[in-house]
């Protein structure tokens, strides 16, 4: 049994790395497979590279940060989705559905609007992301008979209000300086990913991810219900708070880096559940790994299908939309 677990963990850690590795071979700049290997090797061996600078730039400055950032974003969205699903005992929610993404997006737009620079976007994105969860949760509690659907409805309301606010922010923004920045932020593209983004976007995502992994067993307890959790000696309010903060941090970081990318957070945890089962101890890392792989794959697909790039959101929605319908049918709108 222990060996099986070890194998699973090994697969979970390795598969995103494999995806990152393969995405180094895909792109517009013509580089043959042996050449890419050579470029990688020359860097790893620390030998003075005799290869043209451009090759190094393509691999190390363009494809590598993009792949790593893609992995982080996908992982963050999926892991926070899994956490929300466990926390609310509701298979139909994710950070997108609960309005966290739109809230964070609006926060980012508002920060650009007020301060005319992108320095406060993270704080604002986080605060409004958190506000969105809270609102969705409160709306969801208005009518208690079908809590699963009510929470989804609450999220729908909250996220559409925040989407409207985003449009409004775009409308009042200065079309020459602020609007391009806002549009660029919300577009959902990893195309211009730089190492610089790791420093500012990577930190909240990493903190969120580590936090969720660290308390993943408590999500198991919380998902049994408040009474049961309390009887096991768990401070439910505190733990719920920590889970929400971590999941919101991860989502806000992802939104700040790559804009609103829907559906990853909803679909990936379910695929994880099909693979490793319902135990959050395993499900949380599995979602992380799956989300990371999925987003790298989708990003590569978007790069390859046409000469010009297809935005990520389009492809994830095409996969995620039908899947949501399937889930609705399977769960019949109730809980597990």
């Amino acid at each position: 049994m222990i060996t099986r677990k070890k194998i699973i963990y090994a697969i979970l850690i390795l598969s995103p790395l494999v995806c990152i590795f393969f995405s180094l071979f895909i792109g517009r700049f013509p580089l043959s497979v042996p050449l890419v290997v050579k470029i990688l090797w020359s860097k790893l061996a620390m030998s003075a590279s005799s290869l043209p600078d451009k090759y190094n730039t393509v691999i190390w400055e363009i494809r590598m940060p993009r792949a790593i950032l893609g992995a982080l974003v996908g992982g963050s969205l999926a892991i926070s989705g899994a956490a929300f699903q466990g926390l609310f005992r509701n298979p139909l929610v994710s950070s997108g559905i609960l309005g966290v993404s739109s809230g964070a997006g609006f926060g980012a737009a508002l920060a650009i609007l007020i301060f005319n620079s992108t320095s406060y976007t993270y704080i604002f994105a986080f605060c409004f992301g958190g506000l969105a969860v809270l609102l969705s949760y409160l709306i969801g509690r208005v009518y208690n008979t079908t809590p699963a659907i009510m929470l989804v409805l609450g999220g729908v309301i909250v996220s559409s209000v925040f989407s409207a606010l985003i449009s409004f922010a775009k409308y009042v923004a200065d079309p020459y300086n602020q609007l391009p920045t806002i549009v660029f932020w919300l577009m959902g593209s990893l195309a211009s990913a730089r190492y610089h983004d790791f420093i500012i976007g990577g930190i909240p995502m990493t903190i969120g991810i580590i936090g969720l992994i660290a308390i993943r067993w408590r999500i198991n307890v919380l998902s049994m219900g408040d009474k049961e959790a309390r009887s096991l000696g768990i401070d439910t309010a505190l733990n719920k708070g920590i889970v929400i903060i971590c999941a919101t941090l991860a989502t806000a970081g992802a939104v700040c880096v790559s804009g609103i990318i829907g559906w990853v957070g909803l679909v990936m945890p379910h695929i994880g559940r099909m693979l490793v089962g319902n135990d959050n101890k395993l499900l949380i890392p599995a979602s992380l790994s799956l989300g990371a792989c999925f987003l790298i794959l989708v990003d590569n697909l978007g790069r390859v299908i046409t000469g010009s790039e297809i935005p990520l959101g389009i492809l994830t929605a095409l996969v995620g939309g039908p899947f949501f319908v399937y889930l609705l049918k399977k769960t019949k709108g109730g809980g597990w």
Partner: protein, 377 residues
């Protein structure tokens, strides 16, 4: 009791709507006094027919006196033709061109019917009641906007261009509309002289020896598609525009190249038309392996009335001169850009530039106000 409650609720709803309505009315009311309906409307029977960018035959009042310039380019042309004081409605961008507002004080008070670059507010447009409206090609392709303009019964002209020839045609057409054909012709003559002057020297350069240029438009990765004014004038200036005829990403009528694609092109020279972008390109590691960056051949283009050479810039002839000199300095050693710049604005805008301002224009810095400042003066 219950009935009372319903009445109360109805009353409350009504009150909220009323309040909201008042609020909006209050917001829009301050402009009321700015312009009344003009009594100087030209005689409607006295009209001329012109053909616009889409080839529409449009009947407009001869010597139109109230002009709505919903495309900055049209505003620049009208100002050049000496009819700037007839502009009654503009796009926000025009209010931030320092030269423009310095020359024409009425621009600052002109109405902005399409706030935030968005849809036209029809009532605002009708209130201002221009004789003719100049719109951009994009707006002309937007069915919703066209329907609104049709409703206003005010004739609109699409002014846009895909190349130098079309731009010259449009300049003459606007000249015809505002009753200044001669000046428009004079401008086009100067335009042709600039082209001839440059072509005489660069046309001898074989294609393989021409300098390959990447032209960044506002954002670093935004560039020129084929069949665009910049693509045309860059070719006239003796450059090979690397992005023409290539797969570009189209986002909201703008064309973008991917970073890897730019690395594939590896241009000899990069010219950028927005201040700050040259710095961004020089300092960004992702661009660092380009030969243009390594050889320090990233240049900021001048910015006068408009960004020189921008799609739809009226200063395109000047952009041609500047680019030719920048690319082939040894061929154009006799070309003094400061002198040319001063002559240009004197001749066509009757604007005396100090050497200092001319240099400022050529450096491309500080000729546009940032957001909010347009209302301060």
């Amino acid at each position: 009791m219950a009935v009372k409650k319903i009445y109360f609720k109805l009353f409350l709803t009504f009150a909220v709507f009323l309040l909201a309505g008042l609020l909006f009315a209050g917001c829009s009311g301050y402009k009321e006094a700015a312009t009344g309906i003009s009594e100087k409307n030209p005689d409607k029977s006295n009209t001329i027919t012109v053909r616009d960018y889409f080839g529409r035959e449009v009947e407009v009042p001869a010597r139109a006196k109230r002009l709505a310039c919903l495309y900055a380019f049209a505003g620049h042309v009208v100002a050049m033709l000496g009819k700037g004081e007839n502009i009654v409605a503009v796009v926000e961008g025009l209010k931030r061109d320092i030269l423009m507002t310095e020359m024409l004080t009425n621009i600052k008070d002109a109405s902005v019917p399409a706030m935030g670059g968005g849809a036209v507010n029809l009532e605002e447009l009708i209130r201002v009641s221009p004789d003719v409206i100049f719109i951009k090609g994009d707006t002309g392709k937007n069915e919703g906007e066209i329907e609104k303009l049709e409703k206003s019964k005010i004739p609109y002209l699409v002014v846009d261009c895909k190349n130098i020839k079309e731009q010259q045609y449009i300049i003459e057409m606007i000249g015809q509309v505002v009753g200044c054909r001669d000046k428009a012709k004079r401008y086009n003559q100067f335009y042709r002289q600039c082209i001839d002057r440059v072509q005489k020297k660069v046309s001898g350069i074989p294609l393989k020896d021409r300098i390959r240029v990447y032209h960044s438009v506002n954002e670093a990765t935004r560039t020129d598609p084929k069949d665009s004014l910049p693509a045309d004038w860059l070719q006239v200036a003796g450059a090979v525009d690397v992005s023409v005829d290539k797969d570009l990403k189209l986002i909201e009528e703008k064309y973008f190249a991917s970073l890897e694609q730019i690395l594939v092109w590896d241009p000899d020279v990069i010219i950028v038309n927005e201040s700050g972008v040259a710095d961004y390109i020089m300092k960004n590691k992702q661009w660092s392996s380009l030969s243009a960056v390594k050889n320090h051949k990233v240049y900021q283009m001048p910015n006068g009335m408009s960004r020189w050479g921008h799609p739809g810039s009226l200063e395109t002839p000047m952009a041609i001169l500047w680019t030719a000199k920048t690319l082939y300095p040894e061929l154009f050693s006799d070309l003094d850009m400061v002198k040319e710049t001063k002559n240009f604005y004197k001749e066509f805008y009757n604007f005396d530039l100090s050497d200092e301002t001319a240099l400022k224009i050529l450096s491309g810095e500080g000729m546009r106000l940032s957001k909010g400042e347009e209302n301060k003066k």
